[in-house]
């Protein structure tokens, strides 16, 4: 194996570690929301620093590979993809932290009925699933798995759009729960952004493996092989 191959493998392994940590952050955020577990939410906030440290390290690793190995073709596309995925993961980490902060700030438990009506848990699970699948696609270099993510993102968008009306309605009927309802709306907004990050990551994976640029295309075009 060439020296560059070893560097690229290490870069991939580091990216997967960061990714696993970010996905864990999202998962803990979800658990803390469901159980209003503020300790768990604090854990998420504390681990955010580790995500940031990974981001800096991956940036530096990519920079070194560019400078020392002048990667070309698929190697070049891989390092470029990691550079952008790194950025998307860091933002996803920020989002998980943001959700955890809401959980810490909220006074009352989230009403189970409201969670149901807004489909917030379903949305959260779909978002986590998208991040898990993109990780799998990256690890296995499998663009078919990456493409599945675009479909799931539609679900997130749909839930997000309907949430406004559902929550407005709920607040009218439960004015005493206005605070937690608004927090939940904010969480739904953030989950929608997790979906966007997952989608960006999927586009990067397809770019590096197939050399196709999918950014800013419609979902129908994206699913064309």
């Amino acid at each position: 194996m060439s020296h560059l191959d070893i560097e690229l493998q290490q870069l991939k392994a580091e990216t997967i570690k960061m990714w696993t940590l970010v996905n864990l952050q999202l998962n803990k955020g979800k658990e803390s929301l469901l159980n209003l577990d503020k300790d768990l939410a604090r854990e998420v906030i504390l681990s955010e620093r580790r995500v940031n440290a990974y981001e800096l390290k991956l940036d530096r690793d990519c920079e070194n590979i560019f400078a020392l190995f002048n990667p070309v073709a698929v190697d070049l596309r891989f390092v470029l993809a990691v550079l952008k995925i790194n950025n998307n993961l860091e933002r996803t980490g920020d989002i998980a932290e943001g959700i955890a902060k809401f959980v810490i700030n909220v006074d009352h438990n989230f009403d189970k009925q409201l969670l149901e009506l807004t489909r917030a848990v379903e949305m959260y699970e779909a978002a986590i699933n998208m991040m898990n699948e993109t990780l799998q696609a990256f690890d296995q270099e499998n663009t078919a798995i990456a493409r599945k993510v675009f479909q799931q993102d539609e679900l997130l968008d749909d839930i997000n759009i309907k949430a406004n009306a559902v929550i407005a309605d709920y607040i009218r009927n439960h004015p005493e729960c206005i605070e937690s309802a608004l927090y939940l709306l904010s969480i739904i907004r953030k989950l929608e952004r997790v979906g966007d990050q997952a989608k960006n990551v999927a586009e990067e994976i397809i770019f590096y493996i197939e050399a196709k640029v999918l950014k800013h295309r419609s979902i129908v075009e994206k699913n064309k092989k």
Binding site: L4, D5, V72, A73, R77, A211
Partner: protein
């Protein structure tokens, strides 16, 4: 019309076929890089364009090589005239053991040009084009052999330019030079392409990336892929090209 055109070219050295059915089109005023592992036929193919292989007894060619649409292996073609139009620069700088001035005008002397005013003009113009004028203008009567390797190579380029070619063939022109001289030669290639059609054989991938508009990858006598240099270095179509440029060969 393309400046250079090869159509279904085969080359043999005795019984060995070293170029296999190669066709390529090269546009005017572009830089084309030939890359590929040693022995794949880059130099042989390059030399076809100024008929330098004709000196080799066992050389035999099939197919057509055209410059500006005319067949340069036609019996009517006068090889000396052809070579005026197609200059060549080699890996090792090969100045003659003469003054800098005499080196530059060597080709014109052979053509019988004696007018000092014309010769002076050509020397200045060619040395300027070769980005050497400032360094040597006060010592034109000194021996060319006293110049550094990088300066000698630029002098050889000036000598090539002096006879006003339209095409310049370069066979690893910077591989014997230090990084700074090499960078100067690269700069020069970049400058020259507005007026000349340049074909360069190089072993240095980054150099090919920096100087050329299109890149042709040769492997065992075949032309595997010829595309814009950007395409070759970001998304080559052929797996053999990718393996070669990413250093995962064989």
């Amino acid at each position: 019309m393309n400046k250079l055109e090869a159509r279904n070219v085969n080359v043999f050295y005795g019984p060995n076929q070293v170029i296999k059915d190669v066709s390529i089109s090269i546009k005017k005023n572009t830089v084309t890089a030939f890359i590929g592992p040693s022995g794949c036929g880059k130099s042989t193919f390059l030399r076809l364009f100024n008929r330098m292989n004709d000196y080799i007894d066992i050389f035999k060619m099939e197919g057509r090589i055209e410059i500006d649409g005319s067949d340069i292996y036609d019996k009517q073609i006068r090889v000396e005239e052809l070579r005026k139009q197609i200059g060549m620069v080699f890996q090792k700088p090969n100045p003659f053991p003469k003054t800098i001035y005499e080196n530059v005008i060597y080709g014109l002397r052979i053509q019988g040009i004696k007018d000092k005013k014309i010769l002076d003009e050509v020397v200045e113009k060619s040395l300027k084009q070769a980005a050497l004028w400032e360094e040597v203008k006060d010592k034109l009567k000194n021996s060319a052999l006293a110049l550094s390797g990088g300066q000698q190579q630029r002098l050889c380029i000036a000598r090539t330019l002096a006879v006003a070619p339209t095409v310049i063939l370069m066979d690893e022109p910077a591989s014997a030079l230090d990084p700074i001289s090499s960078a100067k030669v690269e700069e020069l290639i970049y400058e020259l392409k507005s007026q000349y059609t340049i074909v360069i054989v190089t072993h240095n991938m980054q150099q090919a990336g920096r100087v050329s508009d299109t890149t042709a990858f040769f492997y065992m006598g075949e032309l595997v892929e010829h595309d814009s240099t950007k395409m070759i270095f970001t998304n080559p179509k052929n797996e053999r090209t990718q393996n070669y440029i990413t250093g995962r060969f064989g």
